[in-house]
Symmetry: C2
Subunit: 366 residues, 2 copies
């Protein structure tokens, strides 16, 4: 059977190894496994959300209210926009998919940083769009602007990941706004703020405000997620905020019931426990400091991070070997060789998890 030609160019996203498979493969006790490979929230789910959900599972047989009006109302209130400015996705991934499938095609190109969230490229390849990346691995707005100018006629989407996954750097909001200001209105600028709760806590200058963004740039979309600071990675809920026209076009590709009944409820509950988010974000940077200190003492380069992970860059040692060694000890980290980097991305865990990772890292790298 012949399938559409485009399939031959596609590759899947490389996910973090799940705990279950490490248990299988290495016979590790599940309780001893430390998974810091997927930037999940190490503090788990807010207790308030967990308790609120106990009564909700009995509704799992019912499709969700596909208008998602209650969640949109709460999000609209939080971001000071209208409900009609919001689209809900199965993770912000799905909003990226909608952006690419509505706007890009095989005659167009998408522009992004040298090393950034893998799904931008994966979705772009699905529609046959050309991928243009900066030589710089991190976001270099000057280089992005030059590439934009050189390819003005074909670029349909620009992706900005703020802060950037998997590297952790983050451009200042004012520079981002200046950059978007130079982009013509027919180019969709996707401002992926999956980790913005972390960046804006560390440095207020990084804060991208959805309201400001969409009021000033009719061609920009802000992406947010419940997968990181809100501790609901496994529930698959994200959202996009943009002007009503963009939202209504993206909605044409949204399948019915694209988030689960439980996800909908969990997201609404999670927005009521801002205290949990604040505590998680605060702990993140206290614990990150420990990695920086150890990296300095071992003379390992790292990129100052505005997200919930830190990326260590190696010179002599091979990152794949290090990851493989750690895996045997039940520690799952993310090797970045597939991003063209001899580096490892470590999600900042709980204090206990970090102690364990740092002990093993010291042992391996001494």
């Amino acid at each position: 059977m012949k399938f559409n030609k485009i399939l031959s160019n596609l590759k899947n996203y490389e996910t973090g190894k799940p705990i279950e498979l490490v248990v299988c493969e290495f016979g590790t006790n599940p309780e001893d496994v430390v998974k810091l490979a997927s930037n999940e929230n190490p503090f788990g789910v807010s207790k308030m959300v967990e308790q609120g959900m106990q009564e909700v599972f009995k509704n799992a047989y019912l499709y969700p209210d596909d208008s998602y009006y209650e969640l949109k109302d709460v999000l609209a209130n939080k971001h000071n926009v209208q409900s009609s400015n919001i689209i809900i996705g199965a993770g912000s991934d799905q909003i990226i998919e909608f952006c690419v499938h509505t706007k890009a095609n095989k005659k167009s190109a998408v522009l992004m940083a040298g090393a950034t969230f893998a799904m931008y490229e994966i979705y772009a390849k699905q529609v046959g769009a050309e991928i243009i990346r900066t030589k710089s691995k991190t976001h270099n707005l000057k280089e992005l602007k030059e590439l934009y100018k050189a390819n003005k006629d074909k670029i349909s989407i620009i992706f900005l990941c703020l802060p950037n996954n998997p590297l952790g750097e983050c451009a200042d909001a004012k520079d981002v706004y200046k950059f978007i200001n130079k982009i013509k209105k027919n180019v969709l600028v996707v401002v992926d703020c999956a980790y913005m709760e972390f960046a804006s806590f560390k440095d207020k200058d990084k804060l991208i405000q959805a309201k400001y963004l969409i009021e000033n740039f009719e061609n920009a979309i802000f992406l947010g997620t419940f997968s990181k600071a809100y501790g609901l990675g496994g529930m698959r809920i994200g959202y996009g905020i943009a002007n009503k026209f963009i939202i209504s076009e993206l909605n044409k590709l949204r399948p019915p019931f694209n988030i689960t009944t439980l996800s909908l409820r969990a997201a609404i509950l999670a927005l009521q426990d801002q205290n949990f988010v604040d505590e998680c974000v605060k702990s993140n940077f206290l614990e990150m400091k420990r990695y920086e200190t150890v990296a300095d003492s071992l003379n390992i380069e790292y990129i100052p991070s505005y997200a919930n992970f830190i990326t260590l860059k190696f010179k002599e040692q091979n990152s794949t070997d290090i990851c493989q060694n750690l895996l045997k000890k039940g520690i799952i980290l993310r090797d970045l060789q597939s991003y063209g980097l001899n580096a490892i991305r470590i999600t900042i865990g709980t204090s206990e998890q970090n102690t364990k990772v740092l002990e093993h890292l010291r042992e391996i790298l001494k």
Copy 2:
């Protein structure tokens, strides 16, 4: 901003009105609302699943194991196939999406019954494929074969919905196999068995066996779901079973983590409680009999149904008016005018729900 041209032809799926909106609109007490519009399982979630899930919510912060190997193992065992024959989707809807996006395009056509599951057309329009339908609203295999022959060069996918949603009729398995046998191997035949648990209970001759299907037809895919008999509509879990080559091509479009961590666990638990499914299916046909009796007594035509709903066809009365009248009384049913039918589809509810619906129907239609 200009979006891809194809978007101007797209329309969204019309979902059943959610209970929340009826409460809002008509001030109905939520407990008095009877929603029999979306073919959910009126018995809710299996108690075994509900209890099993109480401890699981604490894992909602973790992405699921994206290999879904545990769920695939259980499904492979149930259907007597290999894990590599299985793909997991966010509802079987998503598998339909993968089929269309991998196989159809704007140069090809898709063939289906006159009135069948709306998502076939919605996804086909996303890729610009031509839609070819039989004049018969229900599945007429002879007419499907004629249309196939007349459009052999462009048909890339044939959809068979067995039993058919929203009409409820079901072709015999032996006739389906004969039909597929005449189709060339480069055409993907999607055998959508979302309601097969019901059909095969009512009449063994309707039973499509995934194993038989894929062993005999390299170009067929079997679709199953947890949304109907398994009582997990709100959790969005479905699956496709086909030969390994088809599965690996479809997987190229599967986004990572396309079902939630809780959905994965719920599906595995649900497969352990076959007794719940059997009881639900048995009750379904006992209760359906009550609708048939009332329809006969009121001289309303209905289509003998092999699914968990019954479709009443009206002559003089207008189905939209009837639905609107019932809505005011807190009863949500599915008007089929958008399918070109002056008919109403009623999900078979619990005995109590059906009593209420039948009372109101009798009153309105007397």
